[in-house]
């Protein structure tokens, strides 16, 4: 019988946006009687809302949303991940800022998206430079608002991921004070609704296979991919080019090490009181023995 594969995506997620634009999945899955339906969400948390109530089967988000979703008891599994892209998130400062290093952030206003991957980055970066999280003044703003506040000078620094970081660098000459390189991994995850994953392992594997191929293509054809993406995302080509060059686009199966890193983040968020209880990340794994991704 026909199966509909409902994929949740965000425009900012280059891999899915490209594969949707090229129609590869539709073609590939037509052979197996699987219909592909694309559902757009403005950001990760909304996508997880959809996943939680069973309106979406598969989605791609950063490292933080799954942790909150799991704390809230959402029923999903980690299906795969994108290899670390530490250069795709950074602490930015205005071009004429006199902040020289992370230690200078003491007492300063730092804009960030609460409970996102950059929240973790900030905590770890401060830790590494001998500061506590309480030494700075966090200013919680979603990316679009943070950009406005950053340009206006209402904040001294901004922790943000790509493509927003790339856009700020290219458009307002923001400087990278510190990227995640050497501090945190910054991985992204492919999530699947649990019952869907249990019932359709073949579909899931094929999907991840196709995504892996597309990822390799992007890495090889950076410029061309940027040209395709630019009108879709509404960003200048140089910005997109910079942005996608800093992601690995390397789709891999889940490993224990990856989950351990997630567990670190979860524990950090628990300490920050961002989640109300401790969670066990490995609970959100399909039972061992079932392959969850291609090679």
């Amino acid at each position: 019988e026909d199966l509909t594969l409902r994929i949740g995506f965000q425009k900012a997620a280059s891999l899915l946006t490209l594969i949707k634009a090229q129609g590869t999945l539709e073609k590939e899955f037509a052979k197996n009687n699987v219909n592909v339906k694309w559902i757009e969400f403005p950001a990760g948390p909304q996508l997880l809302e959809g996943l939680n109530v069973g309106s979406v089967d598969f989605g791609y988000v950063g490292e933080a949303p799954p942790i909150f979703a799991q704390a809230a008891g959402a029923n999903f599994v980690y299906a795969g991940y994108e290899a670390p892209s530490p250069r795709a998130e950074a602490i930015l400062i205005p071009k004429d800022s006199n902040i020289k290093n992370v230690a200078d952030l003491k007492g300063k206003k730092v804009a960030l998206n609460k409970g996102s991957n950059v929240h973790y980055l900030l905590v770890k970066a401060l830790e590494k430079n001998g500061l506590k999280y309480s030494d700075i003044q966090p200013v919680f703003l979603p990316p679009a608002d943070a950009r406005a506040a950053f340009e206006r000078g209402s904040v001294d620094a901004w922790v943000i991921w790509d493509p927003f970081a790339a856009a700020a660098e290219k458009q307002v000459g923001a400087k990278v004070l510190q990227s995640a390189d050497g501090i945190v991994n910054n991985q992204s995850f492919f999530l699947a609704e649990r019952t869907f994953a249990q019932k359709n392992p073949a579909v899931l594997n094929k999907l991840l296979d196709e995504l892996g191929k597309q990822g390799k293509w992007i890495v090889k054809n950076n410029k061309q991919a940027a040209q395709l993406l630019s009108p879709l995302q509404g960003l200048d080509t140089p910005v997109v080019e910079l942005s996608i060059s800093r992601y690995s686009h390397d789709v891999r199966p889940i490993t224990d090490a990856v989950l351990a890193e997630q567990q670190n983040i979860a524990d950090t968020f628990f300490e920050l009181k961002l989640i109300p209880k401790k969670i066990q990340v490995s609970d959100a794994q399909l039972k061992p023995g079932i392959t969850t991704a291609g090679k």
Partner: protein, 250 residues
């Protein structure tokens, strides 16, 4: 003549000042693009056909939501305005419910209605409901009781009483509700279209906002303003016709 031009003076002055501010560099055009840039963006969107797609999608959602929410609000307003018992029973609950921000309701709405059109329709209806309800309710209460008494004693009952006396008397107030709702339906779409939309002006605006395309955000804002004007012209026309007996509306 003056009456035709005067209403357009403030918008034109605002646009002029804005263009000047950008031209003379008082405002960075990256922060706030000039009206001319916004115009270009509008033209591009229009030429590519995207604008019409968004407009069409949103218009359908807005009108459907208005019809449903406004209709229910009107009926409940009739009910509570006409029957003291209904007022006692329902008004408190409605006053509590309407205070809930649609934005906070989204998780529940997704839960109940999924992420499809129904959810968006519900949100628009939910928001539009209240101004219609409140204004209908108050409109009915403010009808001169002497006139109602007279009509009843002249044998008017039920539908006849409503269509001849109560509704025309409540009409000025109901039309305020309509005017308000006609604006609100667009505003609510921007909330509704954050739930997994692929098209619509709310989607277009929020999406552009996400990607810092300030010119398109401004296209959205101007579009909202124009839609507001259109709704207003519609409401004024209704007022002009239905309230032509009313000395205050001439």
């Amino acid at each position: 003549m003056i009456k035709k031009i005067a209403p357009w003076i403030p918008p034109i002055v605002i646009l002029g000042l804005w263009q000047l501010a950008v031209s003379y560099g008082w405002l960075s055009s990256r922060i706030l693009p000039a009206p001319s840039a916004v115009l270009t963006a509008t033209r591009d969107l229009a030429v590519s056909g995207e604008l019409w797609l968004h407009l069409q999608t949103s218009t359908w959602r807005a009108l459907a939501g208005f019809a449903v929410g406004g209709g229910i609000g009107f009926l409940l307003g009739l009910l509570t305005g006409s029957f003291k018992f209904m007022e006692t029973l329902l008004d408190t609950t409605l006053q509590m419910v309407r205070n809930i921000p649609p934005l906070a309701l989204i998780p529940l709405v997704i839960l109940w209605f999924g992420i499809d059109e129904t959810a968006k329709l519900f949100l628009v209806s939910f928001g539009v409901f209240f101004p219609m309800y409140l204004n209908t309710y108050h409109g009915i209460k403010s009808v001169d009781p002497h006139l109602i008494e007279m009509a009843k004693s002249y044998g008017l009952r039920g539908f006849q009483l409503y269509s001849n006396v109560i509704l025309p008397g409540a009409l000025p107030s109901i039309l305020v509700g309509v005017r308000f709702s006609l604006g609100l339906m667009w505003i609510l779409l921007i909330v509704a279209e954050t739930i997994s939309a692929q098209a619509g002006i709310g989607y277009m605006t929020m999406n552009a906002r996400e990607f810092l395309q300030t010119d398109i955000v401004l296209v959205g804002i101007l579009l909202y303003a124009v839609l507001g004007k259109v709704a207003d012209i519609f409401a004024k026309t209704c007022e002009g016709y239905w309230l032509r007996w009313h000395p205050g509306y001439q």
